[in-house]
Subunit: 388 residues, 2 copies
């Protein structure tokens, strides 16, 4: 297990004095531009093809302006294509909550750094689960905001119709302070009025995770007056997962194609395979996946009316062992993506709440809300922490 | 341009005194086992999964026993999957005959070391052209022997139904001495009685290469009494190429699958893509390619009767520039494979003869013979050198 920081880098930029985040420290996933430092993207051949950035990414600048101090750039899965947090070139950041197990990815180093207490918060990105999964595996608060809400200038894209900037924290108070800055909105006092429990997602995760999350669900029931059980994905979570598994690699190939076809970069086999499959995706598959995306958007819009939140397990299991063979990891990755697909497809905000474990390893409870209702989720996290 | 030798390695093993190769030096492509040294295979993740070999590969031992001294292990395209000689991890060996241009691969370092005069001969492997192409690009004698003739123990396999061990030399005398050892057969005095000129292959290469090779063809006409023009591949060289492009990646995937699915190794994108396509090849495509292979074998058996040789350009052009973008290299690679496919499909022996240039860069003339008639080709090379 290696450091969460990109090997050979050293960065420290003081935040502006007197802001709302004065005294906090943060790290940025190596997909975010930091002026004067190459954006490595977790791949040895990425940085070479871009000039060293002259400006900070929007999210980095926003945290600095609010007073937080940048203390490092963190390891990411290669160009954010990965969900487990094992980077063959830069190493696997320590998961301090489950030593010997993966941290989750692709925002692996950011989650690891916060979980280790090396900084108070850290920027990540979430296209297909890259903040939610490491938050679940490392036992952190983590948000995938409403798609399109934040300014993504200076963040390395992957699949733009799903890409978001997210962040991590160890406690709900810090999480709320950072969220107010990056969402540019105060976290109010209003709590949800209706809680939907996604029985299909709990069923998919299985009894160990469902049992582990019962205590947190009970807490939510104390905070939210009205509770209903629903099937989130009537066609099946695996059908939603399949749609995302078609669309995301197609967009990733569009994003990286020029670079790949010019530079023939080095990748771990699994990363290259994903790009090849994206390039080979058929028109018919893409057409179907776009139709399913419309259905997912419709379903979540129907379920997640103003004041409603939906609860589901963030991941179907806690962090798997580090160093497993690829053919053991592939089915695990596919299972994870079935519980994450709704984020990339429909763009609703989702927050991972820490607080449960299976066999001693963290597993998170996710809450989702209407598009734009990000602060309602943050407010719920605060209420739940106060209860605990 | 880097050294032809594998970075960080240093090998020297004296040959047995008094043998027929006494006083010669040789290098071995990093696919051949050398006792006490890891077999790197041109990939940073290959060596880790195999123990350091305790015995020399058969071909290495044969050269040592004959008196040649091993002076180094040479760079190869990753696990022999490449035809241009650009290795993203270990560098591109210098082509001294065409500086700034690729050496050809996958036996890139072996060809480079011989062409630079760093050793007298060098071992390579040829599955789909990996000796013939660098011999053509670097201006060397090079042989792909009859498939199945040499003992391949200790040579890293790729596609066993096409794999061969080959070698390079700068002059025909040295080439003949080494050939007698590795073929375990004296090079006699008998010359071919019939020369077939493959008009389709010359047409495929185009006028610049065809014109450049006319002088060498004229030399062959002086050595061989009877000359006929033939179409080597009636269905088209691109159809033969297509059959090889189906079968070779399928076998390569079978060879490397267990490693890839366990270790998720790092590859240049183009290498990973080839393996993915091999894994995805359809039963129908494979069935067709096997049928075409039968036809290629029948066609070459019909043409290459005892005493007959066939002449064709080894490559459709001299060495391309080093460092071209991948999307410029891909069509060049596909064109090269159209002139190389008969080797992997039918297993006839083929020798590259140096002696021509296009725009100052070498391009070779190939001669092929009946299976088992390897020394007839070596004898022809000697006769042609004597003429010149």
């Amino acid at each position: 297990m290696s450091s969460p920081f990109v090997p050979g880098t050293s960065v420290r930029i003081e935040g502006r004095a007197g802001g709302s985040l004065d005294g906090l420290t943060f790290a940025a996933k190596d997909l975010f531009d930091v002026a004067g430092h190459p954006t490595g993207g977790g791949n040895p051949d990425w940085a070479r093809q871009n000039p060293v950035p002259a400006r900070h990414a929007w999210a980095v600048q926003a945290l600095l302006d609010a007073g937080a101090t940048l203390i490092g750039k963190t390891i990411t899965d290669e160009v954010s294509l990965g969900i487990l947090g094992e980077n063959a070139f830069e190493g696997t950041p320590l998961n301090p909550a489950a030593p010997g197990h993966v941290p989750g990815g692709s925002s692996s180093g950011s989650a690891s750094a916060v979980a280790q207490g090396l900084c108070d918060t850290a920027l990540g990105t979430d296209t297909g689960g890259s903040v939610r999964v490491p938050a679940s595996f490392c036992g952190l608060y983590g948000i995938r905001p409403t798609h399109g809400r934040l300014n993504l200038t200076g963040m390395l894209p992957q699949a733009p119709s799903s890409d978001t900037t997210g962040w991590f924290a160890r406690d709900a108070q810090t999480f709320a302070r950072v969220s107010e800055v990056l969402l540019s909105e105060a976290v109010g006092e209003g709590l949800p009025i209706r809680l939907l429990v996604a029985t299909d997602a709990f069923g998919f995760a299985g009894p160990a995770v469902a049992d582990a999350l019962q205590g947190m669900l009970a807490g939510l029931r104390k905070v939210v007056p009205q509770v209903e059980e629903v099937v989130m994905a009537p066609p099946g979570l695996s059908v939603w997962g399949r749609a995302q598994r078609v669309l995301q690699p197609v967009e990733a190939w569009e994003t990286f194609r020029e670079w790949v076809e010019r530079d023939n970069p080095r990748f771990a086999f699994s990363v290259a395979k994903g790009l090849v499959l994206g390039a080979m995706s058929s028109e018919a598959d893409r057409g179907w996946a776009e139709l399913m995306r419309r259905e997912v958007c419709g379903r979540l819009r129907h379920l997640l009316t103003p004041g409603t939140i939906l609860a589901m397990p963030t991941t179907p299991f806690p962090a798997p062992k580090a160093g497993l063979p690829l053919n053991a990891l592939t089915p695990l990755r596919d299972q994870i993506l079935c519980l994450c697909a709704q984020g990339g497809l429909a763009g609703h905000p989702q927050v991972n709440l820490p607080g449960a474990t299976v066999e001693g390893r963290p597993v998170g409870l996710s809450i989702l809300a209407a598009r734009g209702a990000d602060t309602l989720l943050v407010r719920t996290a605060l209420a739940l922490e106060t209860l605990a």
